[in-house]
Symmetry: C2
Subunit: 221 residues, 2 copies
Amino acid sequence: MPYTYDYPHPAVTVDIVIFTIEDDDLKILLIQRGNEPFKGKWALPGGFVEIDESLRRAAWRELKEETGVNAAFLEQFGAFGHPDRDPRERIITIAYYALIPAERLEIKADSDAQDARLFSMNDLPELATDHPKILRRALERVQEKIDDPVIALQLVPAEFTLTELQRVHERILGISLDKRNFRKKMLALDLVESTGGKRRDGRHRPASLYRAKDPADVPYR
Amino acid sequence: MPYTYDYPHPAVTVDIVIFTIEDDDLKILLIQRGNEPFKGKWALPGGFVEIDESLRRAAWRELKEETGVNAAFLEQFGAFGHPDRDPRERIITIAYYALIPAERLEIKADSDAQDARLFSMNDLPELATDHPKILRRALERVQEKIDDPVIALQLVPAEFTLTELQRVHERILGISLDKRNFRKKMLALDLVESTGGKRRDGRHRPASLYRAKDPADVPYR
DNA sequence: GCAAAAGTGTTTGAGGTACACCCATGC
DNA sequence: GCATGGGTGTACCTCAAACACTTTTGC
């Protein structure tokens, strides 16, 4: 028991809401806890902040441990620290969200997880402690930021169709958008350019492929 | 040394950026540290989170200790935890900002402060540790939120003139606004109403006084 | 040929921006 | 009477929203 203090100290964790789009659906990564407390319950991936590690670095480390991803859009959105959110001790968590295209995820159940997988935002299991609240706030934050068009670009492969990009907006906002208005606006922003290629998938007209015009808009790809 | 843990734990504080308008100027409250580290330097008011106290409650407690105010607009905007931001030990701080009319502030130098007073955002002293960064982020957050008209209402007395309200917008954004457009928009929003009263101050036409139409917009008054 | 998604323009309304002069008061 | 801030209206422009048909492909 080597670590002693004059006053009680809380533990500090980072938790990460990892959003992705899979099967035309907005999903998040959850892990099933393998140990008490909340054993068997699903929870946001996360873990303790090391004593000599910045908050952001801790978030990156956890993200990599759970998904293999070492480059992604990652942003802090809040701190949650109600005294009884964990039965072991006082734990304050700093919450981040990440936006990652599904094909880049290599989901791994980390050390104290029984299982890890994506869940649709429309079909979530019961979550541990205050994770429903954290998740709700994460979604609100992404919805507020979706007007910044680089957000949707994070959730789409390097080459994508405009319809795919539109679907990302629709799934995040939970509403449907007008195709003509969406395309007009997106092209006017001048952030994407045609690759010249087309994608054939099914018995209908092929879709033109686009990419982000400025690679800095999707730095982690 | 009664508090021992298996792993090292950081300390957690709350720091508060208290914005106000005084002398037609955007100001913040700073305290001059009375003890090491950073003795003599100016810093944001704040303090340690008690072990059984929520983050928000800690922020309220500190706010009251420094200003006597027990009701105000108070919002969390970020967590800052670079490992070497404090030389004593690892300290992670949860940052809040508050918006309070100057006349409600009763500034008190708390226990370990030599002094406490308002500083113009245009004339700040050198600040301790990462407080410049925290302050910058607080201002950015308020600027982002000023489009929500209830923000400016927090910084104005219960009765105010439209010019005063316009000045709040101007000082936060750091730009000047068109008087006619500002009034048109503010009145169209239907959030304020005339009290019928007028304020005479100086050798010019008296200004009509207004109040927030819905008291819930300024719940802390 | 038909089902299915891709692709394409115009009109309308709301809201933001630019802009200049008269009014009520104190001295 | 003059300096000072209070108070008012119109024209223009931009951008968001509504809206329907043709094209290309696979079967």
